[in-house]
């Protein structure tokens, strides 16, 4: 791997190596820029470093101290943040979905949220690029939305949990399909197909999972980028001419400074605003890139409620990727809804610790009730949504007074559901209950409390007064400061965000190349 001196400015220093930063590092390096991409976490080698064990693999999660409050405090850590090269894609569930085209103009076309400054047709091209880079395994024809090319790799077979979803959809007369998913269904280079071990959200130990760690990062290194791991960036330096000059980062026990001609923040929707706010100066007292006052605001998670039941037959949902079947019916069907936005739902495959904690926290079970319910583990079936939550300025990331192990102020994450969020959740729970009843599940119950993914907090837009970055992920206030991760989403849609984050990163890299050629950097 090529290494760069701290004292000589690189073209781009990128903070974070997940779906946004990892992808961008690759594409910028391939366009010929000098790139250093930093991650606060270690550079794992999955074949040697990953165990088949939920507890051990919590080492992949961002578990630094954070305060959560509001009416519906978020659960952080495993579910939504990563601290490793590759970011949370190292433990994501690999679900790789495109936005519904209308969502890019949800304010104009659907009457809620905010419009994106991006055109869906252009995004459609970048989705194809990412799907090919990840060799997404998916169906030949996708039942919803405009035409898309067939997926590069064939769909995976269905496990019993996915079959339950499919049977439920057919009984209720809606469409379903195999989930487009970023784990190999055929060999690729040195990696063999997914072996269905079922530990996807604890990290893939066979490299079948096409995370940023195994797809974009090796390409980035081959193109000359440096990946600097265990490097926690604490502050972006900005000078008096409204330009960023580099980043202060903590590595090997001391603070260091990397000079750069451009700084890209890609720390996901908590660490990105935290870094911008922690970088406040006399000239930028409210934090960098924050003349709109919107940095940290409009945090959006996605509703992640579930309905669970018990089947007479053995399901053993621990085998295979957890979400092999999906319906996006309620993302594309607007009739019969009393709420804005949409949701998809997928089959589930919780491992024992996660399942036991779900029974404890969502159903209140402990003692003999918990033990006997856990013995039904192999018969459990579940459906879970990824649902759209609306942007609200009051849902936000601010800085708490307490500091972390680096001496940096920790984030305070405030979250409350709005009425629309609740109506969407109620609709989904009622519908999924019907779907489980239709496949003769018994002992059906609803998990009301979960959320997933992190977006917003540095939204993109066409107006510096109402957004933090423009369509190219370039901050309005500091022309060589960029933000490239889920933070830039103006709305969140009803699908998992990783494919869209990667598509935006590919587009941003192409735009930077074009602008550089025109002398507009």
């Amino acid at each position: 791997m090529r290494q760069y001196r701290q004292s000589e400015p690189v073209d781009f220093v990128i903070v974070g190596t997940g779906a946004g930063g990892g992808t961008l590092a690759c594409r910028l390096a391939e366009h010929g820029f000098s790139v250093v991409a930093m991650d606060a976490g270690p550079y794992f080698r999955p074949l040697e470093d990953f165990a088949s064990d939920e507890s051990e693999q919590t080492k992949l999660y961002w578990t630094d101290d954070r305060i959560v409050d509001g009416a519906n405090p978020l659960q952080m850590g495993g579910n939504n943040s990563g601290k490793a090269v590759g970011g949370s894609t190292v433990h994501f569930a690999m679900v790789s979905l495109r936005f519904r085209p209308e969502w890019f103009k949800s304010r104009s076309l659907l009457g809620y949220g905010a419009d994106w400054p991006l055109d869906w047709r252009e995004m459609w091209r970048y989705y194809s690029e990412v799907e090919d880079a990840l060799k997404i395994a998916g169906p030949i024809t996708y039942p919803w939305g405009p035409h898309r090319p067939r997926y590069p790799y064939r769909a995976h077979e269905l496990n019993a949990a996915a079959r339950a979803l499919a049977d439920g959809c057919e009984a209720l007369g809606i469409q379903w399909t195999e989930t487009p998913i970023a784990t190999l269904s055929a060999p690729r280079g040195l990696a063999h197909p997914c072996v269905y071990r079922g530990f996807c959200t604890s990290g893939c130990s066979t490299n079948a999972k096409q995370s940023a760690l195994v797809t974009w990062i090796p390409r980035a290194i081959a193109a000359g980028a440096e990946i600097r791991d265990l490097a926690m960036v604490g502050r972006i330096e900005a000078d008096n001419s409204n330009l960023a000059t580099g980043v202060h980062y903590h590595r090997d026990g001391q603070w260091r400074f990397q000079r750069a001609r451009n700084v890209v923040v890609a720390g996901y929707a908590i660490e990105t605003p935290r870094l911008l706010l922690n970088s406040a100066t006399d000239r930028f007292p409210a934090g960098l890139a924050n003349s709109s006052g919107l940095v940290g605001k409009n945090l959006m998670v996605q509703s992640n409620q579930a309905v669970w039941g018990t089947m007479e037959r053995e399901v053993r949902s621990y085998k295979g990727p957890p979400s092999l079947a999906i319906t996006e019916h309620w993302n594309y069907e607007d009739k019969g809804k009393d709420f804005f936005g949409g949701y998809c739902y997928m089959s589930q495959g919780p491992l024992p610790q996660l399942w036991a904690n779900t029974l404890l926290s969502a159903r209140g079970l402990w003692g003999p009730h918990l033990i006997s319910e856990m013995e039904n583990y192999n018969h459990v079936v579940g459906l879970k949504i990824v649902g759209e939550m609306l942007p609200q300025e009051a849902n936000r990331v601010t800085l708490a007074d307490e500091t972390d192990q680096y001496g940096l102020r920790i984030p305070r994450i405030t979250y409350s559901w709005c009425d629309n969020d609740r109506r969407l959740i109620d609709h989904s729970l009622a519908f999924m209950t019907e779907a489980l009843e239709a496949v003769d599940a018994t002992d059906i119950w609803r998990q009301n409390d979960d959320t997933c993914h992190l977006n917003g907090t540095a939204r993109m837009g066409n107006d510096p007064l109402t957004s933090v970055v423009n369509a190219d992920c370039r901050s309005w206030d500091i022309r060589n400061l960029w933000i490239c991760d889920g933070s830039v989403f103006p709305t969140v849609g009803g699908v998992n965000p990783s494919l869209t984050i990667q598509a935006i990163a590919c587009r941003t890299a192409d735009r930077i190349k074009t602008m550089a050629r025109r002398g507009e950097l």
């Binding site: 961002w62 959560v68 952080m76 269905y196 071990r197």
Partner: protein
């Protein structure tokens, strides 16, 4: 219908019988060996605190007297000793280790006020009574300071105990889970399909058949 007594549904199944087989990679063997060797003495908790944790663990996750118990309290203790945190907390709730100490102190005080003795020597029914009141947030002694007792129950005490128990191979065998699965993974994934290296459940009351299959798991 399956036998409803705990521990009888997967007779003879022991996930550790696969330990040297193709379902366990080296890293997994190393991690589980370390967990199985967890010594029973506390490193984080004081001796008094540890007695309370042991007692609470035996109510949150009761274990049958017919086998070696999972050392739940020691596993919780080790996690706190290594400062492995969930990484998020509500306002008024301290970081994981401090939250445990605060909660145990408050529980001890509530117990002495109500029953005049420490938690660990209470009758099981009285321990359950107090834990249920904690779960519903009805323990409100000033000793809890700004941390609600139901938050402590859900996010710390019961959560850490349940996660510790289900991190242990004994618990995996009890629920018939396949356990570690790298690199071999699984082949048969549809309804009622079982790979020969998975647990067999007693079907139609035929314990012998299930036991025979489970004894062959490698």
């Amino acid at each position: 219908m399956p036998d409803s007594r705990p521990g009888t549904r997967f007779p003879g199944y022991d996930v550790l019988s696969k330990r040297q087989g193709p379902s366990w990679n080296e890293k997994t063997r190393e991690v589980i060996a370390k967990r199985l060797a967890t010594a029973s003495e506390p490193r984080f908790f004081t001796a008094d605190e540890f007695l309370t944790v042991v007692a609470a663990a035996s109510r949150i996750v009761p274990q049958p007297p017919t086998r070696r118990p999972v050392p739940i309290a020691a596993l919780v203790d080790r996690k706190l000793h290594l400062m492995q945190s969930d990484g998020y907390r509500l306002p008024g709730t301290p970081r994981d280790g401090e939250a445990w100490r605060l909660g145990l102190k408050a529980l001890d005080l509530e117990t002495r006020v109500a029953f005049g003795v420490p938690f660990h020597i209470l009758k099981e029914a009285d321990q359950d009574f107090l834990l249920a009141r904690m779960q519903s947030g009805e323990l409100r002694d000033p000793a809890w300071t700004d941390m609600a007792s139901d938050v402590f129950f859900r996010m710390r005490l019961a959560r850490d105990i349940v996660l510790a128990y289900y991190s242990h191979p004994t618990a995996w065998s009890e629920i018939g889970w396949g356990g570690p699965a790298s690199p071999r993974g699984y082949v048969r994934i549809d309804y009622d399909e079982r790979d020969p290296w998975e647990a067999a459940e007693v079907k139609g009351g035929n314990v012998v058949a299930a036991r025979r299959k489970n004894n062959r798991v490698r």
